[in-house]
Amino acid sequence: MAMAPMNIGMLSSSNQCTTHAMSCLVFIAVVMSWVQNPQLGHAQEPAAEIRAQAPEENGSPPEPTVAPTPDPWLRATALLEKHCYECHSPDNQEGNLNLQKYDTIESIVGDRHMWDTVRQRVFAGEMPPRDHEPMPVEDRQWLAEWVTVTFRDIACQGKPQPGPNPLRRLNRNQYSNSIRDLLGIHFDAGHSLPIDGAGGEGFDNAAETLFLSPIHGEKYLEAAKEALDYSAKDESSRRQIFNTFPDDKTPAEEAAKSVISRFAKRAYRRPPTDGEIEKLMKLYRAGVERQYTYEQAVYYALQGVLVSPQFLFLTEPTIDAAEPQPIDAYSFATRLSYFLWDSTPDKELLERAADGSILKEEVYRDQVVRMLNSPKVRPMAESFIGQWLGTREIGRQIKPDGGMFPQFDDELAAAFREEPVLMFQHILKENRSIIEFVDSDYIFVNGETYGFYGLKENRPENLVQNLVRCQLPPGHIRGGVITMAGPLTVSSYPNRTSPVIRGKWVLETILGATPPTPPPNVDPLSEKPEDTAGKTLRQRLELHRQNPTCASCHAALDPIGFGLENFDAIGRYREKDNGLPIDASGQLTSGETFQNATELKKLVLERKDQFVRHFTIKMLGYGLGRGLVDSDYCIVDQLVADLKQHDYKIHRLIFGILQSPAMQLRPPTTPTPPPTTQATNP
């Protein structure tokens, strides 16, 4: 794949796309060889794996070192013929589906929805049905991935596409942060709003899952009143809002209009229209009629601003066009601000939007650096990392057993949540390599976790409650998120470790490979005293794996977890389990072996391209506030290639995301077909 600097135009090179499909398949094969089985195409062989890691240069496909890949199309149609055509034929059309009619890639691409269903049902093992000859699991996975890759590949061939641009409501955090900035108050205005769930790439800022319930209207009204009440009682907040007061020269109405327009501009993130101002002035006048004082009447109008959909939704002007259009300056400033600050654009961003300069690369790059150096980056850091790693819920939904871990108190929980946030902020601020998330020679500790981590050297001065950076001695087992106490706690049961969950956590969270679901009615991992006596957890799990059904998945999951067995359920280092010495060695399905967590981390590092790709997907999904679609994966490929050339520096990733068609363009406003919201139950 070419290493051209990021720009919109380069995504359309058709030459790349043929290699894209190839490298994607290889990539998947590499992940899959870790996950479950070594039979996906031929690409799982070690040579192919090395090939996938090797830098690709000048856009030419890498030289195959083993026999050439059979044409994926031929393999796919052969599988379909063998397992599917019998029922899904022109004559039978079971389930109203004739698979034989799809005789070219184009015909498949034209029926995206149907093929998504095919992919899902085959992957889940629902098809072929039980009473037919089963499709081997490796073929099922291969076929499912082939469908995915085919769609992504086609999406990269046309003009660069921005992907969908669904209307986003401010989530609870964004609401609180925006009000904080608008009113200049330190008050969590969103505390009484319902908690938002996550969608898309796993974040609660995803447009898809930001639904509204009847309770929201009421809550927004009360929250606005409460916040304005707080502001009215806070001298500096009042000063921030009231830039004008009525006097001899300025009639009250004129002063009010000035204050209200200025506030509405910041709240709506663009200049309000005359009509919008008039509506707010109507409220002001109604207040005056009710005998409110000048300030009371203005606050009353501001209440209108804070419950207006123009504030609560990130609206962008619509354009009637058949082709994607460049984004306008105000919308871009807003996207940038909610991406990096999880909050409303500040004065400077709005000024850069007003003169249109924010759209210039050199201007927004400067702004990004300014924003990343501001303390306002913290809510984003907290939100992104806490949801990516799952550490946000430590001490809340994730609570180790108090009886077994009495030392796990609120302070320790707070430190566990805080550590990855600070690491992320550190990487952002100093423009460091994202590879440090996998392995770093420093960690962040406070007075409590310094001892908890068993550190003896480089104790930072005045170490109390706040976490500070601490240099690790060479070869130390900690460093990076995999051996951080928070993630190790998240991937444990309240009362014991779980090599299975830890293995799954590393695969899913770090390498972006989701293992398949366990088959129903699996044999249990016995916890009877007679079965647990004299055995470590590892030995018991190994017994469990003697069952071949279980072995296929656990061979990929458990070894990774075994490598982390030197850490107990709250991430403390230990050398014994159940009184017996811990064996933290293991072998991956690829055949590579390791002796302990440090060596395991090295093997993960050798797969850094997978990590980089996964991290990129997460960051892009967060930045866009929605789940990724086919065309976004073209952007992901570009971003990954670009990062590789720039030492994986995080600013490069952020610039790249901002520069991508998904951020720079808006999709055409073709009328969307109404969703199937017809209730089917009554």
Binding site: F211, S213, K282, E393, G403, Y493, N495, T514, T672
Partner: protein, 452 residues
């Protein structure tokens, strides 16, 4: 680098600024007005029927659930033991199943589909759809206009973080049993104090602040309608949802302000419950009890007639090791793998839930509404979306219905239905008792007989 303190936000500690504090006139609505003592006499004589659904995640140990015997002569099972004092007020319903939830994954499909009896879309977000309306909302949509709040949704756990990539569902599904429409789950309140304030506020909105609020809402409606015109269909739906929530609030205000006809009045004083503390209780028991008290308060005052409550979300792993004899968390133990020790703990947890149910029934029985008790005028369903948590099976679900529904339910029985009787049949009957009948509900085949 230090923890940055200056961006942290205080919660409710209102900072009184130095200098002249400005009072905002419309804030009077936030203070709870003392009610006059005359509502009781003014209350209409015929008490309405109320309906609550209490959801327990993770199923039950199957061998410890079903009572022995059938009809009026039945012996409570070990889990149902805490209901001994209310045996005459319950209907244990055996062999009901929720057919359309028998697919997808082990939990989310079952939870989100419990009250809709539909199959939800498999998605991490894009086409979130339960393909139906939940049974409680069918009732709320028909009688909700008679009370300040059409329904209340309460729970304990917030939506779990992230999506469940392994099974391919957003966890939003697992946090909602009430669905106003196919794409509109109803957000639930988990903070007792906030839920309390909402209930009290809803019943007491009035005066000058009401007029002020209405002007603001009018403006919002105009803004939203204007915005609608510029959006694609999907986005329009989102703004529509907001518009509806504003409209509902406006209508409520209108009704409360109305002096015509038979305006709504609370059937009892809101003093029946003390205002809960600001923070969410740390103890699970206290948290659940407060939520139950809130449902009782809302029913007793007639602030709403429809309520749902989730003891936990789908796959809930609340740690119950504070219960005698329990060492682990709920979901972990539900995968008991037929080991005696785990089954015993799993049973203790199920039984604990039954104690909370009994507490609610007790409270409702103690409240008089003329000749009857509040319980006699209500239906309180308790259920889980699974039978055995170890098998993720929606056959023969654990379902109990308590209360006489205004005299239309013959309680004190164990009814063994024929195998695979649709749970939706029960919903058909419950909607009938609510006075909000429908012809058919999802896979319903006929009404389940609730009278002996």
């Amino acid at each position: 680098m230090n923890i940055i303190k200056n961006t942290s936000l205080s919660r409710r500690t209102l900072l009184r600024g130095v200098g002249a504090a400005l009072a905002l006139p419309w804030l009077e609505a936030m203070q709870v007005r003392k009610l006059l003592g005359s509502e009781q006499e003014n209350a209409p004589s015929k008490a309405p029927v109320r309906m609550a659904v209490l959801f327990m995640p993770n199923g039950v140990p199957p061998k410890k659930w079903t009572p022995e015997g059938e009809g009026a002569e039945f012996k409570l099972s070990p889990i149902l033991e805490p209901l001994a004092a209310h045996q005459k007020d319950i209907l244990v319903l055996t062999q009901l199943w929720n057919k359309n939830s028998d697919s997808g994954d082990g939990h989310y499909v079952k939870t989100a589909g419990l009250l809709t009896s539909t199959t939800i879309n498999k998605t991490v977000g894009v086409d979130l759809n339960c393909n139906g309306v939940s049974m409680d909302q069918v009732a709320a949509q028909k009688i909700g206009h008679l009370t300040p709040l059409p329904s209340i949704e309460l729970g304990i756990e917030p939506v779990a973080v992230g999506i469940d990539g392994v099974v391919g569902y957003t966890r939003v599904y697992g946090a909602h049993i009430a669905w106003r429409g196919p794409t509109s789950p109803l957000a639930k309140e988990i903070n007792p104090r906030l839920a309390y304030e909402r209930i009290v506020r809803a019943g007491q909105q009035g005066g000058a602040s009401l007029q002020a609020d209405r002007s603001v809402l009018d403006m919002v409606m105009e803004d939203a309608q204007e915005l609608q015109g510029r959006l694609g269909a999907n986005d329009r739906r989102r703004v529509d949802e907001y518009l509806e929530s504003v409209r509902a609030l406006e209508q409520r205000m209108e009704r409360l302000a109305s002096t015509q006809g038979d305006p709504w009045k609370p059937r009892a004083s809101y003093d029946g419950m003390a205002k809960p503390e600001d923070a969410i209780p740390k103890q699970h028991l206290e948290h659940c009890r407060l939520m139950i008290d809130l449902m009782v308060l809302a029913f007793q005052t007639d602030t709403t007639r429809v309520a749902t409550f989730m003891f936990g979300n789908s796959v809930s792993n609340i740690n119950f090791s504070w219960l005698d004899g329990v060492k682990d968390a709920h979901h972990s133990l539900s995968h008991h793998q037929n080991e005696e020790d785990k089954l015993r703990q799993y049973e203790i947890i199920a039984k604990w839930h039954m104690e909370q149910y009994a507490y609610m029934l007790e409270r409702m029985k103690s409240l008089r509404e003329g000749e009857q008790s509040l319980l006699e005028n209500s239906m309180v369903m308790f259920g889980s979306d699974l039978r055995d948590g170890n098998a993720h099976d929606p056959h023969n679900l654990p379902i109990v219905l308590a209360g006489q529904g205004g005299g239309r339910i013959t309680t004190g029985r164990h009814v063994i239905n024929s195998r695979n009787t649709p749970l939706a049949n029960l919903y058909l009957s419950m909607l009938d008792v609510m006075g909000t009948p429908v012809e058919k509900f999802a896979d319903s085949t006929e009404k389940l007989a609730l009278e002996a």
